[in-house]
Symmetry: C2
Subunit: 199 residues, 2 copies
């Protein structure tokens, strides 16, 4: 069966987005470059970690990661990632509002799942076959899957900043033992760590 | 002038102690071995990091790190560390309750400071001379010094566990930029990271 993995760029104090996320600040105020700058400005140095983030057979994300809107859908909105999103596979979006699938260029299709995290995971596992399922974010979605014991491998990309507020990873997930799943790598911009969840 | 450094063993989710610290569980419930096990069970592998923790000319700690008691002193209590504590120098304990200094074997003397963190830091700097001042803990004390902008170098020893609750490092310290102060080292038990606070 496929593994369930999760990559998150995180501040030293455990935030994966700043406060007040919006259309203008999708990662929240004063956070985007400090959490994700290494992906864009040093992408060659971190090519392996970046490739691993989208190397899954299917993806799951929360509504708030897919869209700045809330409530009923603005059907013109097709995600943050332009015509050809980097997923190149099925992406299951958790939402309370049904919507038809959106096929994009390059093999990404956004599917909208209204019956919860277990249903989304079952669909993603089926779509992924032998490949990994990736929980793409945001914090609330990852925390729900962690608390439910569904995540096998957690890859934290820790950047040298204390954000102080925002969306906190690990809120409410309880007490979980981890073990390293590989060596720590990185440079002055980011530290890549990989942990297996111990059951 | 001496630098102000701080070493903390921390869970992946930012806790430096578990909940309900007590005489029986000084680091809180279900936390001691998971945060500090590498110091005792793998001390040779981590000798350099361990030596750095007590390589300062003076130390500052909170009352709650020195003693499980609260309020007026139990004068029989001389800390958790036996007759010869590992500090081998002056340790300034922040407290609301005055007490005479306690000289211990091996050069450690516990001094009790009742007029706040700035007064304690001034005393520690004077005592340390050219050597570093170490903020030894716990979370509340470190957070106060971080929030006040007094810490120059933060060394986080991150262990592979999500504690879920307890004493949280970085609570209320605000938004702080860091930069790596050395390579990341460690093994499967702990990851040693060093950051300079950017001002």
């Amino acid at each position: 069966m496929s593994r369930v993995v999760c990559d998150m760029a995180m501040s030293v104090d455990g935030f994966v987005a700043g406060p007040n996320q919006s259309l203008r600040n999708p990662i929240g105020e004063n956070a985007e470059n400090r959490l994700h700058g290494w992906m864009f400005e040093d992408s060659e140095a971190h090519a392996e970690a970046i490739a691993a983030i989208v190397d899954a057979g299917a993806f799951i994300m929360g509504r708030n990661m897919f869209s700045p809107g809330r409530g009923e859908w603005d059907l013109d909105w097709k995600g943050w990632w332009g015509d050809e999103p980097p997923y190149h596979g099925p992406v299951f979006v958790l939402t309370h509002h049904a919507r038809e699938p959106i096929p994009m260029e390059g093999g990404t299709t956004f599917h909208f799942v209204t019956d919860g995290i277990d249903a989304a995971l079952a669909l993603a596992r089926e779509a992924a076959g032998e490949r990994d399922v990736s929980i793409a974010g945001g914090a609330s979605t990852v925390n729900q899957y962690l608390a439910a014991g569904h995540i096998d491998e957690l890859r934290l990309h820790v950047t040298p900043v204390i954000l102080g507020r925002g969306e906190r990873l690990f809120d409410g997930v309880g007490d979980i033992d981890l073990e390293p799943a590989g060596p720590v790598t990185g440079d002055s911009r980011v530290t890549h760590t990989r942990y297996r969840v111990v059951r």
